[in-house]
């Protein structure tokens, strides 16, 4: 099978996997799994006190999402640049 076709199918699969919980479990909170782990820890050992605090806590959910977006932007930018570079190189190779 052609690479592009295989990859398209793989993409569709990913979208399905991501959408399924959202559609079928719409009333869940979708909080972070580590928050739940925190709950389990306090369940097992109610006296446990975290002995360190994060140095810098994002002041709001918006700022947190900004920082996460920055992280994605850095990564996605790098990937896009490099894949684009490969693509242009391929054109050169093809025309030789």
């Amino acid at each position: 099978m052609k690479t592009s076709k295989t990859n398209l199918i793989l993409f569709l699969l990913i979208i399905v996997i991501v959408l399924v919980p959202l559609i079928f479990m719409g009333d869940s909170e979708f909080g972070g799994a580590d928050g739940e782990a925190e709950g389990v820890i306090l369940d097992i050992n109610p006296d446990y006190e975290p002995w360190a605090e994060p140095i810098l806590e994002p002041p709001s959910g918006e700022i947190e999402s900004l920082l996460f977006s920055v992280q994605v932007a850095i990564g996605a930018g790098t990937i896009g640049y490099i894949l684009g570079m490969f693509r242009e190189k391929k054109k050169v190779v093809d025309n030789r």
């Binding site: 782990a37 097992i44 996605a76 990937i79």
Partner: protein, 242 residues
């Protein structure tokens, strides 16, 4: 066809990169007792040093290496910020270290994993400095070793390479979160049911949530792998290991 693919990729990434207000999946700051925090940090250190050495060597030997390492690093940056809903009704995120482990071996990904974990610990209150060693050990050491081992082992068989890549990345991801659960269980054994009972509880939180995400990570890694193979066959890049 190609254009549509890239457009699809960007839209998809944009959709997923809109994070919800939640924390991440690493062990939170201050949530490992000091002795365990130190234990995991000490255990992680040699891998980190070895990784730095290997990166150094890589840069000297191979012209492609910098570019490919950038790709693998970018992949980790994107994937570890994508919080994806799971069937358990909570969110978790992939790690993205499988791709780099397949390309460069596990210790190189220890370094990249550390960079990402530091970014998230310092700026995002996600994970933490006291738990950095433990988180490096799960995401930057065990995960990549499993991915690398599976890929190396199954590469020799005539199994479809895309499928092998999928398995390597997905199981590496799952391994990371099993280790996280184990680390927490060792530090917090259940007073009634002991280590095993506690491990079960943490595995339910982390590993079960992680199963669909491991599949997503496997698929995404397979997609990039397919692209790399195509470019390799066309002579655009030279990659020995895959």
């Amino acid at each position: 066809m190609k254009n549509i693919k890239y457009l699809g990729l960007s839209v998809f990434l944009l959709l997923l990169s809109t994070p919800s207000i939640s924390h991440g999946m690493h062990i939170m700051e201050g949530f490992l007792p000091a002795k365990w925090a130190i234990f995991w940090a000490v255990l992680a250190l040699p891998f980190l040093i070895l990784g730095l050495k290997n990166i150094n060597k890589l840069f000297k030997e191979d012209v492609n290496a910098k570019v490919l390492l950038g790709l693998a690093g970018g992949f980790v940056f994107v994937l570890s910020a994508l919080k994806i809903p799971s069937v358990t009704g909570s969110c978790s995120h992939p790690t993205g270290v499988g791709l780099g482990a397949i390309l460069f071996g596990p210790t190189v990904m220890t370094v990249i994993g550390t960079i990402v974990l530091l970014f998230q610990a310092l700026l995002l209150a996600h994970g933490g400095l006291t738990t950095l060693g433990a988180n490096i050990f799960s995401m930057g050491i065990v995960g990549p070793i499993i991915s690398y081992g599976i890929f190396k082992g199954l590469k020799k068989t005539n199994m479809n390479r895309t499928y092998v890549t999928f398995l390597a990345a997905a199981l590496g991801n799952l391994a990371t979160y099993c280790i996280t659960a184990t680390q927490l269980a060792i530090a917090f054994p259940d007073p009634a049911s002991g280590l095993v009972g506690s491990l079960m509880k943490f595995l339910t939180v982390f590993a079960v949530t992680q199963i669909p995400l491991a599949i997503v990570e496997g698929l995404l890694t397979a997609i990039v792998y397919n692209l790399l193979i195509e470019y390799k066959e066309k002579g655009v890049i030279s990659i020995e290991n895959i």
